[in-house]
């Protein structure tokens, strides 16, 4: 079992839940510890209930885990909601001036802090947070200097007086703990590694910068807005034009315009905004202008639950825009992969001149993960495909009088000239057109030409499929159960497999990253050897299960689904697998026990 330590901090929005979270994250990553953080919150700026979970450990931490080691409730509501989650050896640090603990399980250490005795609360409104930080680090066996240096960084903009005031409060919390609270057993180790801590949105934005994106535009929509924020803050340094547009229809069309003029162009949104972009994706496909669109899924339909996660947009992606056209869809597997997938999908979109869709979700977009900085590669392979950027390139070997933008080729890919080049003028049309771009949709319609153009475009699917890798089975080949997932569930399924193996049930995992085109034959080849197959996904109807069946006729033995807005925890999957292996059910819908 991995050694991990999980902290939950709860409070109302505006009470400062994020700051102690950031401070813990900095301290852990600077000790060479991995971490994963997830914030459960609502669509409210002040009030409500926010619950931040940070889980850390010396090995990779891929999800929030099953247990809390430490709870820091910043108000009574958080205490009432979460104290019951704690089990023996866990602790709860709280402000005893204003919060009363309720019933707690045997072996849970209650750590009341008399905040008004230790700090001047008329001067410092977040004194309880800072005191709790100090006490917590003491109990974890981490030296005070770690906290002092992070606090100094955090407050240095506000001046020396604020720094020393906060350091003094933190120190009194630290010292109060040594005399009054019992330290945690098994102090967290230190390693020589150093990690970057980032959200999936930051990772995708940086991945875009690495891929050579020169144009980024968006309309604000949770949970995708973080991509816009990173781009807006860093665009001028990175040489990226960043625009906020009037709506998502404008976004996708502006992105296509920029792409058509020759730059790599990207945009991000969530399900509702993506619905508005749908017609534009067809335009990208028909004009054969590559563009990359990120969809950060949130719980739908309609406005749905804007601050909650789901994998419910798959069929929207599969069916986005009318008509048949080649598209490529990838679902990043974790936050580090959010970075990597962007240059990869740009290469595919550029080579095959089609839209690329990144199917992310709130869990990755807004979650945070420690990533080895070496994995943030700003010089990835860039393949822009058959792009003509100079009038002298020998890409137009035709002798029959000129450049044909939509020349019929075996691969379906036609060399693409960017506007501004002499001798390559052409019209790119959303209407069906001939090889030279002339419309055949109006008076010149010709079924033979229409068929030829349709087949030319669709031939690209063969090339795309060859350009993307097939999925691989992870874990013992002859396992008792095979768990199939896609995208963001990779980490939690991985941990569930580890737990199952520890409990004597051998389990392996097939995680799908490239969704369209799907390597159906390779998947069938793997699954036909599997003894018991279960598809795990974060939606109601089993969207991936239905897609897999439509592509391969494969029907799994069971399903584990969750659609309450919260991500899976490892034990949800473990218990469901046991239930299904015992034959009790073939559809499990685990209940989320954390009330957020």
């Amino acid at each position: 079992m991995r050694q991990t330590f999980a902290i939950g901090i709860g409070g109302a929005a505006g009470q400062g839940v994020a700051t102690p979270g950031d401070i813990f994250a900095k301290i852990f990553s600077r000790r060479g510890l991995h971490l994963s953080a997830y914030n459960a919150y609502q669509s409210i700026i002040r009030g409500g209930h926010t619950f931040l979970t940070i889980r850390t450990g010396p090995e990779k931490v891929s999800n929030m885990g099953d247990h809390l080691d430490l709870l820091i409730p910043l108000n009574q509501d958080s205490m009432n909601r979460h104290l019951g989650l704690l089990t023996a050896r866990a602790a709860c640090i709280y402000n005893s001036d204003s919060i009363c603990p309720g019933e707690s399980a045997p072996g849970v250490q209650l750590c009341p802090i008399p905040v008004s005795k230790l700090a001047d609360i008329t001067r410092n409104k977040v004194a309880q947070n800072t005191l709790a930080l100090g006490s917590a680090l003491n109990m974890m066996g981490i030296g005070f200097e770690a906290l002092e240096s992070v606090l100094t960084e955090q407050f240095k903009r506000k001046g020396e007086a604020v720094v020393s005031e906060n350091v003094a409060i933190a120190r009194s919390g630290y010292e109060y703990a040594s005399g009054n609270f019992k330290p945690f057993a098994g102090a967290l180790p230190m390693t020589e590694n150093r990690y970057a801590v980032l959200s999936g949105n930051t990772a995708m934005a940086m991945g875009g910068a690495a891929a050579g994106v020169k144009f980024y535009c968006a309309y604000p929509m949770s949970p995708s807005t973080g991509v816009l924020h990173w781009m807006a803050a860093h665009g001028r340094k990175a040489g990226i034009m960043v625009r906020q547009v009037e709506d998502e229809i404008g976004v996708v069309n502006m992105a296509i315009g920029a792409a058509h003029a020759g730059v790599r162009s990207m945009c991000a949104t969530s399900g509702g905004g993506f619905a508005l972009m749908s017609e534009g994706l067809g335009l990208s496909a028909m004009m054969e202008t590559p563009v990359v669109v990120i969809d950060c899924q949130r719980a739908g339909p309609s406005t749905g639950v804007p601050t909650k996660t789901e994998q419910g947009d798959l069929w929207q992606m599969l069916g986005a825009a009318f008509g048949d056209y080649p598209r490529v869809i990838a679902a990043p597997l974790d936050i580090g992969d959010c970075f990597k997938v962007i240059p990869e999908i740009f290469n595919v979109a550029d080579r095959f001149q089609c839209p690329g869709i990144v199917l992310c979700d709130l869990l990755l977009s807004e979650g945070r993960l420690s990533v080895d900085p070496k994995d943030l590669d700003f010089a990835p392979v860039v393949d822009r495909g058959e792009l003509i950027t100079s009038a002298t390139s020998n890409s137009n070997p035709d002798n029959d009088g000129g450049y044909k933008r939509y020349k019929i080729t075996e691969s379906g890919v036609s060399p693409r000239a960017v506007p501004g080049l002499p001798d390559h003028t052409h019209t790119a049309a959303s209407d069906e057109h001939d090889e030279d771009g002339v419309l055949i949709s109006d008076e010149f319609t010709n079924p033979t030409k229409r068929r030829a153009m349709m087949e030319k475009r669709m031939r690209k699917v063969v090339g795309i499929k060859a350009a993307i890798p097939a999925p691989k089975l992870e874990g013992p080949g002859d396992a008792e159960v095979t768990l199939i997932g896609w995208g963001s569930t990779k980490g939690v399924i991985e941990e569930a497999c580890e737990l199952l193996n520890e409990q004597g049930i051998s389990a392996n995992q097939l995680q799908i990253r490239w969704l369209v085109p799907l390597h159906g034959e390779a998947i069938l080849e793997i699954l036909k050897e599997s003894r018991h197959t279960i598809i795990v996904e974060n939606n109601y109807s089993g969207q991936f299960a239905r897609y897999l069946r439509s592509e391969t006729s494969f029907v799994p033995d069971g399903h584990i689904r969750k659609y309450d807005g919260e991500p899976f925890m490892p034990h949800h999957i473990v218990e469901a697998v046991k239930e299904q292996l015992s034959g009790k059910s073939n559809l499990s819908v685990p209940a989320h026990e954390i009330l957020v």
Binding site: V197, A210, G239, I249, H260, F378, F444
Partner: protein, 298 residues
Amino acid sequence: MATALATPKHVTMTDLKGKVDPDWCPGCGDFGVLAAVQKALVELQIPGHNVVTISGIGCSSNFPGYINTYGMHTLHGRALAVATGVKLANHDLTVLVTGGDGDGFGIGGNHFLHCMRRNVDLLYIVMDNQIYGLTTGQTSPTSRVGMKTKSMPFGNIEAPVNPISLALAAGATFVARGFSGEQKHLTELIKQGIEHKGFSFLDVFSPCVTYNHDNTYQWFRPRVKKLEADPAYDPSDWVTAMEKSLLWGDEIPIGKFFGRTDVPTLHGAEPVLDSGPLVHQELRIAPEVTRSFVAELM
């Protein structure tokens, strides 16, 4: 090789002829607009490969196929959004947007509004025929009250959009109106619109001879009065321009209503473009910059 660097050749009307002839109805006002655009490019000596003509959908939106420039025939109502992307990615290009009143003021109304306030440097020509033509004759956002169409057979009861007032209110920095039946005047307005640094809006009366029997050449001809005919008219005076824009009836002004050059263009206001068009910039970011991005996360 040397071909690309050779002395620019003289641009002629033949150079700008499209691959196919227009499929507009005989007598359509759009023919006059096409000819005027080609003449303007010849007079300004702008070669076709430095121009991108972008349209939405509709009769007039078939325009890019009939002129030998780079063309984009995009989605209904979306030409201005696409054009903004093109201009920001390569601001060396001359960007022309062509379309109709339904495309621009109906389905594309939101982009029209925002493109104006952003002062995107392009010329937007609306071939305004006050009717939906390609869908065979329905009421458009500029159809007059009372006009009978297939979609409003008992007469339109909705007030029309006034494109000139709308453009003035939205902050367009060049606002003009032409008439397809006044070729020389129209060509002049197109030239001014292309040369203007910023968003140029040109609404052109372009009669639909098939579906609009109210607003015909004969109806317009006695009514249109050139603003330029009055030497006292000052196109830098926004208030007077707004007053003139409200005139409709026996006298309908055409010409340049308003122009100002003191507003920065969108591409001019963005420091990212200080080192030249995006499309010519380095793909890779300097390592010291990317290192600073990662350092923020440590």
